[in-house]
Symmetry: C2
Amino acid sequence: MSKRGYHHGNLKQALIDAALTLIETKGPTGFTLSEASKTAGVTPAAVYRHFDGREDLIAEAARQGYGMFADLMEFAYQSGHPSAMAAFTATGRAYLAFLQKYPEHYIAMFESSISVNRTLGLAAASKRANDVLGKAVANLSEHIHVEKRPPTSLFSAHIWAMSHGVVELFTRNLPGRAFPFSPEDLLETGIRIYLRGLGLIDADD
Amino acid sequence: MSKRGYHHGNLKQALIDAALTLIETKGPTGFTLSEASKTAGVTPAAVYRHFDGREDLIAEAARQGYGMFADLMEFAYQSGHPSAMAAFTATGRAYLAFLQKYPEHYIAMFESSISVNRTLGLAAASKRANDVLGKAVANLSEHIHVEKRPPTSLFSAHIWAMSHGVVELFTRNLPGRAFPFSPEDLLETGIRIYLRGLGLIDADD
DNA sequence: TGTACATCAGTGAACGCGCGTTCACTGATGTAC
DNA sequence: TGTACATCAGTGAACGCGCGTTCACTGATGTAC
């Protein structure tokens, strides 16, 4: 962007951005390397200066996504700390906030079929995001009476599943039928009921 | 299969079956009309005797899937009837049982990006499946004390979301890390906690 | 029962297309002296 | 400050490939008489 003409200046990031835009508009499968390079104003061959190929480009986009995702959740977690409940709630909200703000990254991360173990950097970024939620869940878990406390990994998996399910089923173009609840409401009420089931929230509220 | 030679006899269903097999092994995006026709032992052009094209083939596979899905859930529902709780539990288990038994249909239905409103038959089959769960949820809902009863559609959406999330995140090849819970356990415990949050299950059990 | 003929499910060749990737190249940038 | 040269990010042409789709066709099946 800075230098005009023959040399692009910041082609690597421009390609990633182009790929993300295409992924969002056409789905993870509609993305092509050729089109991304054209969008960035460059020949397809130029891509190979910066990436090993098509998959590598997607993986890098996903890696950046996981990094931002982890940052966002970490920030949310800190904002609620030291209250375990506040930290947990904020972290959960950050999940949906990320999806709403960076849907193209979300798709690259969770729907592009690239393995999270493809590169070390990708695996690390993914783990970091996972760990934030794990931390929030673990803290909250300590408030459950010990003999009815589920394993932390189970607790955490339930939260992931509910969140991901809400996103996949209720944030995309809702198919025809009008659905009266926003994804945020849906997730928040669902998790609240779940937490009540664990005795973490009183029956009133 | 019955007649050998020039005429296939049951090509339409053979193509659907081939498509489903490919969808399962290669993902919804890896399916190609050419390969499906080859698998069925037939020229690509022959496909157009029975379908309008590639998309139409997938849509028909999904339609059959929704039909079986609805049947399975309806049967499960009846098996628990008239106990609202038994009917609900059985219906929920049928969801995962379907996924385990017909993963390729599940993919065609929920991950192939074909719209459920593509054809009337597809929309009807999808609605029928939805309605079974809706019925199970509505019955159960009546047992919730009226002033803390959530709207049925919200209740139902939570169950869909949790179920779908568990399937998407925890039934495919788990990425490296060993996860100690089966999808069935995960979903069953998750929903049980949720139901407890609604006061539908006692704190003990 | 046998023949003529309509129907229709398949063939096989061809098409245009966009894809990912390779290659030798070129021209801009940055550095040494 | 000016020149020579190495570096390197881009070009553009070419490739082989498999795709979805079309078309005129052919040969098997089923029906009328």
